[in-house]
Each structure stands twice: as structure tokens, then as C-alpha cells.
Symmetry: D2
Subunit: 343 residues, 4 copies
């Protein structure tokens, strides 16, 4: 059994990790920390876990965490980087669900996140935990930077095109839509039901922190700078991301369907749907799948890719467990093979 | 492995059965029928099942169904009763998720359902599949009448009071609220998002088919007629039932909390929450639990019981699988131990 | 033109007042105060008002407020009572949308609201602003206690029965359901979309502040104590209250439909629907109507009344403007005759 | 008073027309037809209109319709074109809210709509009723083709750029999101709450009927062919359209904010929001406004325009009444100056 700890387990990625890990056949949850809820049983905060877990939230304690085989950070940005070096020294493997280790360029990270990085020397070692790109590196990693939700959906949607150098990489557009859980469980007015339901809006058009992360992933694939316009939107629903991706100047005579099917033929969690499909976010609700469809409307040279994930699963906790499974040599889909809840 | 068939698998209880059964470690799904979708792969209709199931909807075929160990009917009322006698004769066990075998009094059934019963002789044998009441009968049953969603929530909430004869059984009130999936997947205007979201209403105040079913369950417990007012309402959400139950003339000095905790101490799927709790339907979304809380506001002699279930799981498909597990000697929670999806 | 001021205009009742008053043909909005938003144009906070209003939120200023003909308080409980005496002395009429003047018994008020009342001497003078009960008193009032949302829906639903003394007034039940806007615009976790959508729950079963207010209204009608069980619930929608009301021991041979139609025959904002109706909250969304239906299921002696309002209009801002219209001798429906937005 | 008739008043655009027209100070509603609901009072189908309208749905009757000054068609595509010639001959002005007269090229219309056009000779005369483009033509028109909802949002968002020839008109992208009311009130499974809430999807990527309509509007503005990729999506909400528009190769040194503000300076229903804004669809819910914001992310040469309307008001019934006001010399905003309902 893998001894696992969770730091910062009160947010939505935290409770989703809990939901997955309490049912994982090879994991023993040993510690879950929360400064704000220390002393409270986990199931008091999350009644869906009543009867499934006896743990009590505890103050972060380096000794307890060091006794784990793996520690997940489901904390705000800037927290994991404080504790990670000591945990790695203690032989603990670390999976950060926040952004501390996602951007390789420390200056760019510091600009977008407004913090000084506490351990820039670890950025090189940290593996960007997108299994569809870095599977082998993940297996041997000590430190995983679990990808952001938008980057997961966008990269999986664009990589086949970019890797094959089939479109104009200077004019990529990612029009993305996320459920409100992407904004977390903090009490801000904009996430109130009365503010965010029965409405739709864009946000962060001037610049969003996932922009450099997506760009980095695309540039790594193609080996040159890309031009990307990224516009996130807020959808009046709890879970789900839908990325609508546009790429122009498609080279002639490409069989897009085969390109995508071949690229993901061996991927357990990427489902390339049949030609003409329109994946719905609900088809992945509560599951670790990414479903894709690729279109070429009116046979013009613009490609439209539709990519859906559950932002809390494939976009966060599920992908983190996928990474853990890889790191510990387990079956890739262990504990994350649930069927989406539908309706 | 138990060979299972599903008749009528295109509605919401059907797809929920599929979601549970494809992950059940002791079930082999052999056949799923649908006249309207015959020939279509199941995963075309329900993309959440892509990669999980290879079955194709087929025309109902007595031969194929007779080769099953158990057949679930997820059909409209009046269908199961046609095929059940032959299946039983062939040694197949039958679990009907519709109402054909729920009411023992055939005249009352025919009045509420507007049909002549095709096999009234089976009504005596059919076991009302509420494990918290009929566990031992279920183990040996050939034919299960799987309870309705409202009756499940109401009976589990009222039974401890009624069995102990602590309240006025002539003045019971069940104010129930259901998500829209309770209305099924048929295309009627009232279930459109634009008609049922951002609104709340009662329906069927004059009389609802679950009224006689609830009354029968209460009367069986107390051995005398009861007076029940049952008002169902439609909640703008997909899943969940919340029953708010009122009973008056409470006998003095009853420890209600202990009464409930004792009654359900050994029940794997009934969770009596701590004093003062307000269970949320989302705490059981996608799970087979019923969560209960019992209140005595202002210490008056009126008891208020709050009871929540997922109408598609504990109120339909999950309870059906619970019954199957009992019938085949499996662990009661096999395949239905999922944690509710939250948020 | 009536010069109107609003104190505390940033919450949902505040913006609803604004929406109504900017279109009211006889009102000139002179001042709107907010400590937190002072200096910000109203239309920056509420873009729906762009182009309709030039006002800027200002610090509360007694001089400016005293120059108004009427001041509306859309503030938290305990605020209006501080400023009201001086405003009345200055000849300003006051309509308090909070609870400061609703309860006649100061001890009971202080118990439920946890505050010392600042001007208990005004409680006698304050008129409870339910036009269907106190129309003539309202016309001449200086100080209006605008009713709570739940009390408005419950009182309008029960009054015909209570006034006629037709039921057991010791065993009344009000099972009420409210949209989330009833919880206001403050940033609390429970009102987040991800916490309150796709779920349903009761709250405050042990005791809610509207309980004494409803009880007072019923007791005033019947002249004796009543027994009331009041259970509020939260519905995953923005606006609307649905009260399902139960009264038992109905005296024989009462024509309930006529009773209700007669009681409200001259009321511009109470709509008694035809026999057998189930009013939907959306049928009053954005409008000042209360729609009622009265049922006697299975001809038993239990009456079920269904009552719907928009909690922000008839349950708050619309009723406040109705009161203002009465106080200033205007047509009762001036500025509040909008048709509900449907769908 | 203008005598108005409505043909096909049972759908969502029909009831929205009713909501607006019953409150319009210069309109007398004379007739409303519906084959399916003939004989039923309008307020039985739409309880929000109880007390506001006495009309009964009637069979379509050419004589009654011919007595009107204006007839609105809120019918499925292909209906208005049958009756329009006779009505025009009778001196009645016609506003078609469907698509019969929107496309000037009859062959293109017939291809996209799959019908033979009944009166192609009227296509030239029909005025495309977008006041911001055709105000003067509308004033004198006999026959108005009321624009589609997506075309309204997209054209208002792109026209300033296109008219000024500032971007690459071969690579325009319109990523559009609509509430479910855009699918109408017909009973289809895809519009059920349980199918469309808590989910997000694209649809019609291969080609949507509004594509040629938008293209025609853009080409009319620029006088040459344009290349447009149009992807509509379904948002889990009732009302609202959000168009996110992308145009590339922006010419240098353009003051986009001024461009938009100047273009719409005199438009009563187009609100260009301040730089950096993200308009929400709820800010126009129930109102006739289009709110726009224009962005140039990271100062690259890609322009992002955000455009929101209420699909049933500015995208249908409100714009139709705006057209009527222009045709009859009334104030443009008469009857359609309502403030959006928020929250």
C-alpha cells in the first residue's frame, strides 16, 4: 500500500483527490492537512465521505508528511514550493496540483504569479505531468508539476496538429469554457450562484496564467515559438471544460481523423470520437477522460478541435492519481476508471 | 459471474444500471434491449460508456433473456408484467424497476395505473425490494418489485417513528422534492431546461401514483390504516430527492436520535446524521446512500424528518443492484459503494 | 416627483429597488448610499443599469437623506433603527426592507436578532407593510416595516383559512422553498454555485427569524396563539419562493376556491389560480404578483395551499414600492406592473 | 394605437413578443394565432400573462390578420412566406421573426433551409431589420426580415472592424454560445434539463443556418467575400448569447475603443463598454441591449470582441418591436426600454 498525504485538502481539488484516493485499492491515506480546518473530521466538511474516511484535518506537520510515500499538494500557488525540497530530501515523492513547478522559465513564472520562486533549482527536475507527453519521465520522477485544467484540455486538443506541423502555429486560438468549480471553493462574490448561474462571460482576456503554460507545452512540441490567443469563459455549471480550438492554414490533404486516432491510439484516457462528433462535457463528468473531435468546416483550411475534460479529474485530481500510478508502477487506470455520471 | 440482462435500457434508470453494472466485479452484461434503438451501440447513445461496453441494443428476445441469471426491467409501467412469468418459468430471476409488482392490492394498482394487470397471481410472491425492511425475503426472492424513488425516501424517513407507534399515524405529511430526472428521458415540454430550470413547483397534489405505494409500506409496518398527505415538487436540478416529513402528536420523552440510529445501526446504506443536521441531496449524488436527520423544532410535538437519496441510485438502479447482490449472496455493497460526486 | 433615497444599495434588494425605481414615472432617485462602494458609479457595480442611472454610491449623509421624501433601507438588520428616528423627525417617510420594525414584541425581536433595539418606542407606530392586510394604515404611515419574503408568501397563503377560523390553528405547517438570492449578495461559501446548485436542502429547522414574524401575522388575524412548524429550504435557482402550506381539521363543506377568490377579489397583486392549479415560481419572476392555489387532496380534511412570489419583488423591493405608492397616493401598481420574465 | 397581430404565438419568441406588446403604450394586440392551441386563453399557456391579456389563441384567419396594421410572424421557417404576399397586398406591414426573408440569394436560402421559396420576388424588397445598419430603410419598409439571434450578436460585434477594413476578412472566427431557449419550445430530448444542464457542447460545427446570414451581412458591409468560421455552442442557461469574435492581421495603430464608441455613439441599444470589460449575458437578460467590449490581448495583431445579447429580445422579439417602432414613427425605445433583470 502506498502511504499518501494531502496538503490543503479543503478545496475542490482536495475533496476530489479524497474521493478518488479513499476508493483506490493501493493507497492508504495517512494524513490530510488544513490550517483552517485542523481538528475537524474530514467527513464533517464533506458529508459525501461519511463512512468512508476516519481522518481528521491536521496542522501541516513535516514529520507526518515525511513518513508518506507520496504527498499531494492541493494548495494555493506558492505553497508547495516551500515544503517540497525537504520532502524530496526525505525521500517522499511530490505531486503538486498547483502551478509552482509548471513553468520552466523562472522569470516568466514570477511575472505571472507575482511571487519569488522558493526553489528555482527544482524547476529543471520537475516533470510536467501530462502522461500523453511525458509518460516515461513521469515513471521516474520525484517531483510532478500536475498540469492546469485549461492546459490539459488545450494541449491534448492541439498537440497532434502541432507535432505534425500542419497548421500556422502563429495564429492559434483557444476559446475555452470552464465550469465554476475552476474558480475554487473560496468565498468570492463572482462565484455565487446568483452571480454566475443563468449567465455567461469571458474573463481574463488580457492575460491568464494558463497562457504561458499552454504556450510552453506547444513550443516544446514544435521546438519554436507559437502565437496563441487564449480566451477563458465561465459556464454556469459546476464541472467541465470545453476547449474550442482553431488553427488556420491547414496543409492540404491531411486525414485529420486518422491523425488524431493514431496519436492517441494507446492512450487509456484520451477518446477520439468519430468524425462529426460534438463531445459534451457531461460525457466526462466525474471521470478521467478527455474526449476529442476534430472538424474542418466547409472544407476550408481552418481546423476546429473540440476537447472536453472534467476540470477536477483529468484537469486536476484524476491526472494527479494517474501520475501517481505511473510513478509507483501500478496499472495506469487504477482507481480512476470510473464511468462519467450521466445524466 | 452473474449473467445479467436489461430490458429497456435507454431511459435514465437504464443508463444508470449500465453505469453500475459495467463496473460490477461479479456481473457480465449479456443483453440490453430497446425496441427504439435496436442495432445501435449502447455507447452511441451514452458516450460516457465509450470504451466500457461493447453491447448493441437489441430487440427483446425471450431466448437471449432466458439465458440470463437475472433480468432487470427498466421499462415503462406495464411492460415487465408481460414477460415476467415466462422468465420466472425459465429460472431467471427478475427485478422490475417499474411499478408492476409494487402494489399488493390488484384493484388499487389497476386504478392508479389504468391498466389490467397481466399476472396478478405473482403479486403475492413479488418481494418489495426495500432491503431495510425485507432483507431476508429478498435473499430468496425470484421476483423483486424495486421500490419507487419517493417511497424509498419517505419510508426510510418515517419507518422508525411508525414502527414504534410514536406519532399520530392519521396526520402524516410528506413534502417531497425531486430533481427532473425523476420525470425520465422522454421528450415532454415540461422537462425542458427552459421550462423547469429557474423555477419550482408542486405537481400531482390531487394524487400521485407513489401515494398508495407509500401508504402500503407504512401500513405494513404499523398494521393499520394511515392518513398521509403526499405533495411532490419539481426541483431545478438533475438528480436527488429530498423528503421533508412531518408527524404530529409525538409521544413524550422520546430520544429521536437514538431511535433512528438504533433502527439503522446495521444498515450499510442508511446514514443517520448527527443531531441538528440538514442533509443535502448532493451528498448522495451518484451514490446509494440515504442520509437522514431528525428534528423536533422548538420542542413541540411535531417531528420533522429530512431524508435524501439519489433518485436514480438508491431510488432506482442502485437499490436494484443491492437487491441483486442480496439475491446472489454477494457482499451487499459490491459495485454500489461509490462516493457521491461533490461538488 | 417623489424624491427617494436608498440606504445600502449594493445587495440584491438594493439593486432590485434601483431597477424598479429608475423606471418609476413618479420617482426621482436622489441618493444611494454604500459605505463599501462610496465613489463608485452605480452602473459599474450593476451593468444592467448602464445608461439608466447616473448616480454614484455615496457615504451615508443625514443631510442628503433628510432632503428626500422617502428613504428605503436595504441594509442588514440593525441598521435602519439607528437612523430612522432622525429621518422621521425631519419629515422623511421611511420604508425598512430589513427586519428592524417587523416584530412588535421588542423582547422577542431582541432574542431572535441578537441585538438591543435602538428605538423600541417606534415599534408601535411602525406599520407592517403587507397591503393585503394593512392597506389603510399604510396610506398614512410614516414608517413601514416591509415584510420578509417567507412571511409574505406564507401569510397570503394562510390568511383566508385563518381569518375564517376553518382549520386547526395549532397544527399549521409551512414547508417553504427559496431561491438562493434570499441569502443575499454576501460572499459566503454556502451560496457559491458549486455548493448550492444541483442540490437541495433544508436549513434552520431548529428556528428561523421569519418564524416569529409569520406567527405574529397569523395571531393578529385570529386573535389567539397559533402553532406553526416552519421549515425553509434552499432551491438551486436565483429567484422565487414557493410555500407549501398544510392545515388540518378543515371544517366540513367549505368552498375553498371561493373563499380564496373572495378574500383577494380586489387585490391587484394576488392571483388566485383556478382549481387544481400548481403555480410555478417562474410565473412571477421579476413581477410583484403572488399566485395561489388551494387543494384538498383526496377530499381529506387537510388543506394544501401553494403560494409563489418573487422573493426580491413581492418579497422585498416590489412590495416596498407598493407601500410607497400607497403612502403617496399613487396608483397602486405604478412602476410595479411588469409581466414576469418567462422563460 | 397600432393594431398588431401575432401568427404562431406559442413558442418562446411568441411569448416574448406578447410580454413586450401587452405593455407597449401604442399597441393594441388584436389577434394571436396558433393552430395547436386554438381556443385556449393565452394566459392558460403562459400564466405570467394572467390578468394582462384576455386574448384567446385562434386559428389563423386571413380576414382578422388583414385588419391589423402590422403582423408579426413568430412561426417556424417557411410559414411566413406563404401568407405574406396577401397581407402586403392588404396593406398590412409584416415583420417575420423567422428566416424566410433574411437571405437575398434564393438558391442559397433554399439550400440551407431545404424548402422552395414561396415568394422569391419579395426578397429584394424585404429589409434586413438590423436598425444599426438599415435604420432608414426600415422606416419605410413594408416587409422586415428580423435578424437571427447569432447574426445580431456577431454582426454588431464585427461591423466596426469590417466596415473600416482593418482586419483580414478571410480569417474571421465567431465562437458563439447560446442559452437553450434558442432551441425553441419544442419537445426534443436534447433540450431537456437533464440533457442540457450541467454540460456544455458545440453543435452544428459542419454548418449552421446562421452562417450564410452572417456572411451576407459582413459582405454587404465590406463589398467583397469574407471567410468566416462559425461555431455555435449550447450553454446551460435559459437566455443569452455571448459571441467571442476573433479577427487577425489588425492594421497597426488603431484605437479600437474609439472606433467602436464612435460607430455606435447614436445607437440607443448598443453599449460599448469601457476598455478591459467582460460583458455578462445576464447584464442584458430581458432587455434589448447589445453590450460590446473590444480587446487586443498582449498587443498582438489579433482582435477579440465580446458581444452579448438576450437572444429572445435583441435577438428576436425586442428587435422586432424596435423595427415596428421605426416603421410607425414611434420613439425607438418605446416599450423596449426595460432594465435587465439582475440577478
Amino acid at each position: 500500500m502506498i502511504k499518501a498525504g494531502i496538503v490543503g485538502g479543503t478545496g475542490y481539488t482536495g475533496v476530489e483527490l479524497l474521493r478518488i484516493l479513499v476508493m483506490h485499492p493501493q493507497v492508504e491515506l495517512c494524513v490530510i492537512t488544513s490550517r483552517s480546518e485542523a481538528g475537524k473530521p474530514v467527513s464533517d466538511l464533506y458529508p459525501n465521505l461519511r463512512g468512508k474516511i476516519d481522518l481528521v484535518f491536521s496542522e501541516p506537520d513535516p514529520v507526518l508528511l515525511s513518513a508518506c510515500d507520496v504527498v499531494f499538494f492541493a494548495t494555493p500557488n506558492g505553497t508547495a514550493m516551500i515544503s517540497t525540497p525537504a520532502l524530496l530530501d526525505a525521500g517522499v515523492r511530490v505531486i503538486d496540483l498547483a502551478a509552482d513547478f509548471r513553468i520552466k522559465d523562472v522569470a516568466e513564472w514570477e511575472q505571472w504569479y507575482g511571487l519569488s520562486h522558493a526553489c528555482p533549482d527544482l524547476l529543471d527536475e520537475a516533470v510536467y505531468g501530462l502522461p500523453e507527453v511525458n509518460r516515461e519521465l513521469i515513471r521516474n520522477a520525484r517531483l510532478i508539476a500536475n498540469p492546469g485544467c485549461y492546459p490539459t484540455a488545450v494541449l491534448l486538443g492541439l498537440l497532434p496538429l502541432i507535432e505534425a506541423n500542419l497548421v500556422d502555429s502563429e495564429q492559434l486560438i483557444a476559446d475555452c469554457k470552464s465550469g465554476v468549480s475552476g474558480a475554487g471553493r473560496s468565498a468570492n462574490v463572482g462565484s455565487l450562484l446568483c452571480e454566475s448561474s443563468e449567465s455567461f462571460k469571458a474573463y481574463g482576456v488580457a492575460g491568464h496564467r494558463h497562457l504561458p503554460e499552454i504556450r510552453q507545452g506547444l513550443e516544446a512540441a514544435i521546438g519554436m515559438p507559437v502565437g496563441l490567443t487564449f480566451v477563458p469563459h465561465l459556464v454556469p455549471m459546476i464541472r467541465g471544460i470545453h476547449a474550442t480550438l482553431y488553427a488556420t492554414s491547414l496543409k492540404a490533404d491531411v486525414d485529420l481523423q486518422s491523425l488524431y486516432e493514431d496519436r492517441y491510439a494507446d492512450e487509456p484516457f484520451v477518446d477520439v470520437m468519430p468524425t462529426g462528433s460534438h463531445p459534451e462535457t457531461r460525457s466526462v463528468k466525474g471521470s478521467n477522460y478527455c474526449r476529442l473531435a476534430v472538424h474542418q468546416p466547409q472544407s476550408r483550411d481552418t481546423v476546429v478541435v473540440l476537447s472536453v475534460i472534467d476540470n477536477l479529474v483529468k484537469g486536476a485530481a484524476g491526472q494527479a492519481v494517474h501520475n501517481m500510478n505511473l510513478m509507483f508502477g501500478l496499472d495506469e487506470d487504477m482507481g480512476i476508471d470510473a464511468v462519467a455520471l450521466m445524466p
